[in-house]
């Protein structure tokens, strides 16, 4: 695995993504969800909302890096809050 040049932060990042996918699979198996319409302009399933939240988070991080000198944890905190809002009411 040395050729993949792993670092602790990237390993934690991918572990978090993998855990999210496993948790979503378990959630869907235990309590199946259906598409619904929230504040987003289209009907979405839980998986759709997770994808939209992750993609939006990536762009928020890039915007913070490009336009500000803020430490990255502020972007991460905004994204965690945004993800919760999208999953609940999106």
């Amino acid at each position: 695995m040395g050729w993949m040049a792993w670092t602790l932060p990237t390993a934690l990042f991918f572990s978090a993504i993998a855990l999210m996918l496993v948790a979503m699979t378990v959630w869907q198996t235990v309590s199946p969800g259906r598409e619904r319409k929230g504040f987003l302009p289209l009907a979405t399933s839980r998986g759709d909302r997770l994808f939209i939240g992750l993609l939006a988070s990536a762009y928020v991080h890039l915007l913070v890096l490009a336009l500000t000198d803020w430490p990255l944890w502020i972007a991460t905190a905004i994204c965690v809050a945004g993800m919760a809002i999208i999953m609940k009411w999106g």
Binding site: W3, T7, A43, L62, A66, L72
Partner: protein
């Protein structure tokens, strides 16, 4: 009661394994590279988000990105209407059908580097037909020294290569419209424009979305043809994103910066693809 039978997901497992090896593992490696300064496999230093900050402030990325969007917009603005016109002009029955299908398929069979070489020769003002005609018309055409001519040649080359794809997709869409629609239009004495506007165009919507998506993706990732034709020049006039990325990764062996660049590039493509995919499935759901 379970709304779906989830056992079918096991059938996706082989594809998942294939995609893991062809895309996910390489992508994870690129993410790992993007946060490090890599000199060789054993000498690397963690730099955090430094490459991202540098790349996002890099005028080369801004210029390439702008050129790329303008190029993709021009490609779509020319190829989609032209493809529809070609498809509408194609015969519906008789010997003309296979002949026109074969003729339209020919440019699609030519390898990308050969397309670049063909247009490198055709565009020359001394021995190339295109360059000679333009110069004979009094235009001072030289794609090797004039950025405007280089852009025009790269665009004409793309139109020559890929309009067939749009035309073939539209033709297949037109052929799937049942005759009863045309019979009803004839009874109503509908004009050709009305038939196109209210029958053909709505029925082509899904096919056109696929065509637009394919052409956007391909034009946004274009590398070989302009590289062979102009080498990205004159200056950096036709240097698009993929060529800037290649120069960074292979020319300068700046793997960390190139990895951050490719992830930003990937996120742009992912967003646009998702928007198109959502538009298509939303359209399908509405019936």
């Amino acid at each position: 009661m379970k709304p779906y039978n989830n056992k079918a997901w096991w059938l996706v497992l082989p594809v998942f394994v294939l995609v893991a090896f062809s895309a996910i593992i390489p992508m994870m490696t690129v993410v790992n590279y993007s946060v490090q300064d890599i000199f060789d496999p054993s000498t690397r230093y963690f730099v955090g988000t430094e490459w991202y900050r540098e790349i996002l402030a890099d005028p080369r990325l801004h210029d390439s990105l702008m050129r790329q969007f303008v190029y993709s917009f021009c490609v779509l603005a020319i190829e989609v209407p032209l493809g529809i016109i070609v498809a509408l002009s194609m015969p519906r029955r008789g010997l003309g059908v296979p002949v026109s299908l074969i003729l339209l398929s020919l440019p699609l069979l030519v390898p990308w580097n050969v397309v670049g070489t063909i247009w490198q020769i055709i565009g020359r003002e001394d021995i190339g037909l295109y360059g000679w005609i333009l110069n004979s018309l009094g235009l001072d055409y030289n794609y090797a020294s004039n950025p405007r001519d280089a852009w025009a040649t790269v665009l004409v080359m793309d139109v020559w290569h890929w309009t067939s794809l749009v035309a073939l997709l539209c033709y297949s869409g037109l052929r799937s419209i049942p005759d009863v629609y045309y019979q009803a239009a004839r009874i109503d004495r509908a004009s050709s424009w009305a038939v196109f506007r209210y029958i053909q165009l709505p029925k082509l919507k899904n096919v056109l979305l696929i065509a637009v998506m394919l052409r956007f993706m391909d034009s946004f990732m274009i590398y070989t043809e302009p590289f062979v034709l102009t080498g990205g020049g004159p200056g950096t006039a036709t240097t698009f994103l993929s060529q800037t990325l290649t120069q960074m990764a292979l020319g300068q062996f700046d793997l960390g910066r190139a990895a951050a660049f490719s992830l930003i590039y990937f996120l742009i493509i992912l967003l646009v693809t998702w928007v198109f995919y959502t538009a298509m499935t939303h359209n399908d759901n509405k019936g």
